[in-house]
């Protein structure tokens, strides 16, 4: 008996929920996203906080009261000035107090966020590029290449990022001549954090790629002799952008915290050009001695930054509703 079905079968939900956003970034930016953003006050606040912090970091040189990296503007004797008071040896006013080097805590936070965000964003982009590429290659090729890449991914995922970052930091320290190490420190940090975070991207993209690969249009393109790279870029990549964006956001928060932890363990950026983590490491020494502001303000900034980015990621995950994992 031939197929007696008269009507093309469409899942009922497609008709009920007006627009189901899946895959394509273009559709993801459809106003549905904006609606779900608008109706989630927490997300709105998180966005504003994240934006404010990013702008603050971006324009730090313009808006910071002092330049904490310019030794000429510092006076060590201003060290430990409490918040909202004037330094003992200069007329500098310290809204959030001064640290142990006489630097304005507010200014160091602004500049420190800059370093933290710079490291976090670049590390995440690096991890994203690496993870997505490997995921595409593994998912598209399958077979041995896939098995090898996924095995490495497993190993990577089973070691905590911090340990991997420490290892990479160690290798880099060994390979770079001592006189270059400080100028390279930020890049080493980016490399270390990036290399410890790519596996999640690879795993997700690989899964999505394997699904896409089965689809007719990809087979068609392949039969027509379209170059695999072109297929991957044009057909497969847009379909995995949603989940990648979500993982990217969450990774950014992770990278910022990881940078802080590495700096806390003393293997981060130099204290003369501190990140938020370095500031916390410095401030932590003064936890019991009463100079709470040296720890408190950078810690609050770090938490606010990580939390707001995490909230954004969380919301994005729900809004795009990708099949994570």
């Amino acid at each position: 008996m031939e197929n007696r079905t008269l009507f093309k079968d469409v899942p009922a939900e497609d008709l009920i929920v007006p627009v189901r956003v899946q895959g394509r970034l273009a559709r993801a930016l459809d106003s549905d996203i904006f609606y779900s953003w608008r109706t989630s006050p927490v997300t709105v606040v998180a966005t504003l906080v994240a934006l404010a912090l990013i702008l603050m970091a971006l324009f730090a040189p313009l808006i910071a009261p002092y330049d904490p990296f310019n030794p000429a503007s510092l006076n060590l004797m201003d060290g430990f000035t409490p918040p909202a008071s004037t330094g003992a040896f200069t007329d500098n006013y310290f809204l959030m107090g001064a640290d142990n080097q006489g630097r304005d805590v507010l200014s160091t936070i602004m500049y420190g966020s800059r370093v933290s965000l710079f490291v976090g964003i670049l590390a995440t982009l690096f991890a994203m590029t690496l993870g997505v590429s490997l995921g595409l290659i593994a998912g598209y090729n399958g077979g041995t290449i896939d098995a090898v890449i996924m095995r490495i991914t497993d190993v990577q995922l089973s070691f905590p990022a911090i340990l991997i970052a420490l290892l990479i930091f160690g290798i880099a320290r060994g390979l770079i001549p001592p006189s270059q190490q400080e100028s390279m420190a930020v890049w080493v940090l980016i490399l270390a954090i990036g290399l410890s975070n790519w596996a999640q991207f690879a795993r997700t993209v690989r899964g999505a790629t394997m699904v896409e690969r089965q689809k007719d249009y990809v087979s068609a393109a392949r039969i027509m002799g379209v170059h695999p790279i072109l297929i991957l870029l044009r057909h497969v990549l847009p379909n995995v952008l949603g989940p990648v964006l979500v993982i990217g956001t969450i990774s950014l928060a992770l990278a910022i915290i990881e940078e802080a932890t590495l700096s806390f363990l003393g293997v981060g950026v130099p204290p003369t050009q501190p990140s938020l983590g370095t500031l916390i490491r410095i401030g932590q020494q003064f936890l019991f001695s009463g100079e709470w502001w040296i720890l408190f303000f950078p810690a609050v900034t770090l938490i606010a930054l990580a939390l707001s980015v995490n909230l954004l990621g969380d919301w994005l995950r729900d809004a795009l509703n990708p099949k994570l994992r």
Binding site: P71, L76, G79, Q101, S183, P270, P271, F288, G290
Partner: protein, 527 residues
Amino acid sequence: MTRKILGLSAMLLSSTLIVSQASAETIRWARASDALTLDPHSQNQGVTHNFAHHVYETLMDRDVEGTLTPRLATAWAIKDGAPDTWVFTLREGVTFHDGAAFTAEDVVFSLDRARSDKSNMRQLHVDVAEVTAVDDYTVEVRMTAPSPLYPNNLTNTFIMDKDWSEANNVVEVQDYAAGEDNFAVRNTNGTGPYILQSREVDVRSVLTVNENHWAETPPEVTEIIYLPISDAATRVAALLSGEVDIVQDVPVQDIERLSATDGIKIETGPENRVIYFGYKFGDEPLASSNITDSNPFNNPLVREAMELAVDRDAIQAVVMRGQSIPTGIPNPPFVDGWTEELNTYPAVDLERAQALLAEAGYPDGFSVTLDTPNNRYVNDEAISQAVVGMLGRIGINVTLASRPVAQHSPLVTSNETDFYLLGWGVPTFDSAYVFNDLVHTKEGSYGAYNGGLYSNPDLDVMIQSLGTETDLEARAATVAEIWDVVKADRVLLPIHNQVLAYAMNDRITLPVHPENQPLMTGVTFAD
């Protein structure tokens, strides 16, 4: 005590507990790290020696003022007619923890062990030619040349029992390259005031008082619980919460808070250790500098400018919170050769510093990398950071490279650094120890820590003469002469001498030891 006993067993129990506590004073002693080993000759390291001093004993000791005092040796002198031989008279009636008697053969055995190839104490005894027992309580040490200061080297060389060592196959110091385990690493048999009961590396060690110790007055502390706590904040928290009685390594910033806390007090005192910056000398341009045709540090004007720019008083006041003694000479005040005059340092003068830089040919300053350890000395990284700021004000643009000491000190010993921070302790309390390693041209066994490759042939001759000069007055004059040159030439940029601070429960008194090796026998309790 007996008045209140009413027959209630509970009361009895609690009162006996009080009694036993009163008669046995336990001290919970925390510091940043544990002894590396129990083998007394295997590591030449302060923390390890400090621990060993409770179990083992040395021939002589240094008191809190830094003077040599008798311990297992009751007297020592250069042998009449033999200027190269030292004679030690030993204490009688001393026994090891296992009951064996302490005699001259144990001293001979221990000194020979300490100067063997595998011993880490070897360097202190390189000039020893032969150790012999004259009788049960007299030992002669013949040197290769007259060595008037040799007894200074003995304060950390511990005496082991010969028979015990032979019985347990520890005649030789452990060879860990061969993967050998060694009984002496984990077991002890000393003559010291305490007996090791148990030890968990890095966690806790328990020592109880040696009832048979030779000292006339037994120590007030009858039990020591030794607790290494590496994290500074945790260490302070443990004291604040009453979990430990003494914290030996107190972060300077917590001193104020701790001394303001009820029930806690602070003992401070100078340590025999100077903190200084070293320059790279020579005509080669600096690897980390923007000046590629000359070495600015080789120019005395630059070194003078830098000294004028560094505000030692500000470092003391802010970075060290008053817990340091600023100095103009890389020599701690305990050491022979230190004078008030040498210790003076110029006032900060930025204008003159800038003028000097211009005169030296660097009107716009220059850039350089400063290498600093970040876990070795008190606030080492913060000191360097402060100096970076101060030098920045005269146009010297310094990049700070901060590393754990394990990665930092190889840079210094292999001369891979242009500008570095280092600390120097002087266990012999003699200036020659400073000159030999920091000032003498790097050659042979000299100049090991002359990281900047400073070289002055005239000084080298004078330094070498100190080793064998037996006329102490003439020797002192040479020392003074060398110091004058070192200071005038600004070979090093000294900052301050470290101050030690111990924090403790306020019913305890423990004076600060200049080599940071306090003995718990010195603890007294207030009642």
